[in-house]
């Protein structure tokens, strides 16, 4: 396989949400080095993303009593705002000129996986999304502190029920296991200790506002990972994020989501060294420049949202304009991935979990639905004679297999079917 095509394809599909028509061919002619620099340099203004209007998400207040007159408008508003929230984010992903910030926001959403299924109210979820976007490539310590003060995360993991009188370990355990250190890098005594250090948080469900109730706080010193102290949320974050295990863990997570979910991370993977100062950009830049990027072994399955957004970009579609938003969410739900609703606190699965026969069928239905709504001009502008080969550039695919070429060749005179097949091909579902 042509290594330059492979690496540039990986930049597009892993460090952004896929190329718009013409972008992959342009990047190939610009070369790897310039393209990589461009991917990693965050512009001051992203015109495309800025064109997406923020949704009006308001504090909906306390849920009215069942059967009351107020419950109907409340439910209508709740449903509408929840839908607007999802569409807004999908539009940002699909319309952004520079993909990395949004892609990292998406990565962190899967990392601090919080679901609106429990939070219910969209406002705390929007706040959390802002925290993740603001810090997406910044200081991981700042992000961790902000997340401990985020109402959605606190409520999701029962932080408001964690009191000095009897601690609730949910948040403390996941903070170490899933967010900062990684599993088995602490003892069960540490779980008990961190739960006590995190007592006293209170959450306003509707607004997501977080406060500390001193009366419910356990202010005795605890011994956590060998250090005795009275921790606050901030000092706890300083303490955990500074640990070597944190750098190992974040490198592992980047490996899992950017390089390979089924191969083991080599010990010299550059992300860890890149994360020495705990800036996320440092780690991500190191990943993008590591030798593993050109190793054919490390293919990645596109998660459903990634597949959908890259299809929208290729087909020049805007998610919120698709008919109808309800059908869009339904299609994503069938594939098993709707933004703001991860299945559990560990985030979405990866790799072969997305490759069931049920998903294969839903993907075909979804692709047909999308293709029907596109002008397909990027595809039909390619002369039929070179359509099979050049369609790889259109979609940012490194190389079509003989199998896929043969299926595409049979559909040269039916652009809609051609597009559906290309989007459902193993080479597009899986980023080589």
């Amino acid at each position: 396989m042509n290594i330059q095509r492979l690496e540039i394809s990986r930049l597009f599909h892993r460090f952004a949400f896929g190329p718009r028509p013409g972008e992959y061919a342009q990047a190939l002619s610009d070369g790897l080095s310039l393209t990589r620099t461009r991917f990693l340099t965050i512009p001051t203004v992203d015109t495309g993303a800025a064109s997406v209007k923020e949704p009006e998400i308001t504090n909906l207040g306390k849920r009215p009593a069942p059967n009351s007159a107020e419950i109907v408008p409340f439910n209508v508003a709740l449903r509408y705002q929840r839908e607007q929230l999802v569409l807004w984010w999908l539009d940002r992903m699909a319309l952004g000129d520079h993909g990395l910030s949004e892609r990292m926001t998406w990565f962190w959403h899967g990392h601090w996986a919080t679901s609106i299924q429990k939070i219910d109210y969209p406002l705390p979820m929007l706040d959390q999304n802002r925290v993740l976007r603001t810090n997406a490539l910044g200081s991981f310590n700042t992000m961790t502190k902000a997340m401990l003060n985020n109402g959605a995360l606190q409520f999701w993991l029962d932080g408001q029920d964690n009191t000095a009188k009897a601690p609730n370990e949910n948040l403390g355990r996941e903070l170490m296991e899933l967010f900062v250190l990684g599993v088995n890098r602490y003892s069960e005594d540490d779980v008990k200790a961190i739960a006590r250090a995190l007592t006293g948080y209170q959450v306003d469900r509707n607004s997501g506002a977080v406060s500390i109730n001193q009366k419910r706080r356990d202010t005795n010193p605890v011994t956590l990972l060998g250090t005795s102290a009275v921790f606050t949320g901030d000092s706890l974050s300083d303490f955990l994020v500074a640990r070597d295990d944190c750098a190992t863990f974040i490198a592992e997570r980047l490996w899992y989501r950017f390089i390979s979910s089924n191969e083991t991370m080599p010990v010299d993977f550059a992300a860890k060294a890149g994360f020495t100062d705990r800036t996320i950009a440092g780690a991500v830049n190191a990943v993008a420049s590591d030798a593993v990027m050109s190793n054919e072994k490390f293919a990645m399955v596109k998660a459903p949202v990634e597949w959908f957004i890259s299809a929208c970009r290729a087909l020049e579609l805007t998610p919120s304009q698709l008919k109808t938003p309800g059908q869009l969410v339904n299609n994503l739900d069938k594939l098993g991935q709707v933004p703001f609703a991860p299945p559990n606190v560990g985030g979405w699965p990866a790799g072969e979990a997305w490759l069931s026969s049920a998903s294969a069928q839903y993907r075909i239905t979804f692709a047909k639905w999308l293709v029907k709504q596109s002008s397909l001009s990027a595809l039909t502008n390619i002369p039929a004679g070179s359509r099979v080969i050049k369609s790889a550039d259109w979609l940012g695919v490194a190389e079509w297999s003989p199998r896929t070429k043969s299926a595409l060749r049979a559909s040269i005179n039916d652009p809609a079917q051609f597009a559906v097949l290309a989007l459902c091909s193993p080479e597009y579902i899986v980023n080589a």
Partner: protein, 410 residues
Amino acid sequence: MDTLTRRRFLKLTSGTVAVGATANLLSFDQIAQAAINRPLPAGTPILVIITLYGGNDGLNTVIPFKDPIYFSSRPEISYKAETMLALDADLALNPSMGGIKSLWDQKKVAIIRGVGYPKPDRSHFSSMAKWQTGSPERNISSGWLGRWLDSQPEDPMLAISLGSVLPPLLAGTKLSGSALPLGGLVIPKGILADQCTQLSKSSRSDSKLMAAAATSMRNLFNLSTSVQPVLASPAPVAPDLPTINGGNAGGDSNLSQQLDVVAKLIAAGSPTKIWSVSLGGFDTHANEANAQAALLGVVSASIFRFLNQMKSTTRLNDVTVMVYSEFGRRVRGNASQGTDHGTSGPMFLIGEKVKGGFYGDQPSLAKLVDGDLAVTTDFRDVYATVLESILKSPAEKTLGKWAGRTSFLT
């Protein structure tokens, strides 16, 4: 197909399949044909696995209702003794589990107590991985039943999981089970179908994952000819489940629907030996008693109904249901009327062939290990017995050398 056979088939599957003007009789005939052409041979054992995601609180499932430590450890989430369903002098079922209690009375329920594995891991994900891979000591990526599939001839119908995401349990190193969504499959037809079949061929240049993507599409077309119409219409909507409490550790929420579909497909003769279904919501860190009782009520009633549905078929004697969760919970309640992650818990095996009764020792509340229940039975004892006695395969291929067995079958 003769009309009598088809009528019989329609009868067996009615309830999920809308028969009439709107139903696609041609493909319905095809599925009937396939299920009748190569039905599961009569008398072949069938395993139905129910995974409870989130860590089911075993102490509030099989309750030591005479033990004062039980009541003093969790005053806010213990049940009143008189509401519990006594199994013997010391243990009782959760008040919501009437269905399983009546099966117990018929000696069809084996309760294996204190099940777990060495060095309990209190992370949902690590612990579930240990249970599903069947390998608590070494991290591996294949599921224990996936490895069993590796040892069988390739057949996408051999092991089926309900829901669109395949649980690791059924992922082998070479072969995998199939996932079936509840809403049913609509398979492309005509030229697009031909081209999709072309796309699903394997190619020498495929990476491992691309090959898996091609296989999943190939299996779709294989599956579609046999079971698709049975699933064509959505099952009825299940009653609302408590997703607010304990709702963040995975699993589906419609167990009774899943088991309904499984019952219909077993009755139809689907050549499937393993069915996998799940229920989530057991991560009851807060306000546990009501939430868990509702969930266990669903588990109990769904299994009871499922086995009743089996009674009208020839397969009742072949079916064994196995229920497990990734861990039990702490003995002591927390401040939010809930419990935090713990260690061992009970497993249930239910069916006509099951020798009802208790197996394994009940972990003592007086002798806790690091404040948690002891593990008295290794889950591999149960798995080995399942492999040998239900799937009729050597256990060693799947689990390595493992001596323990639990003789819960007659």
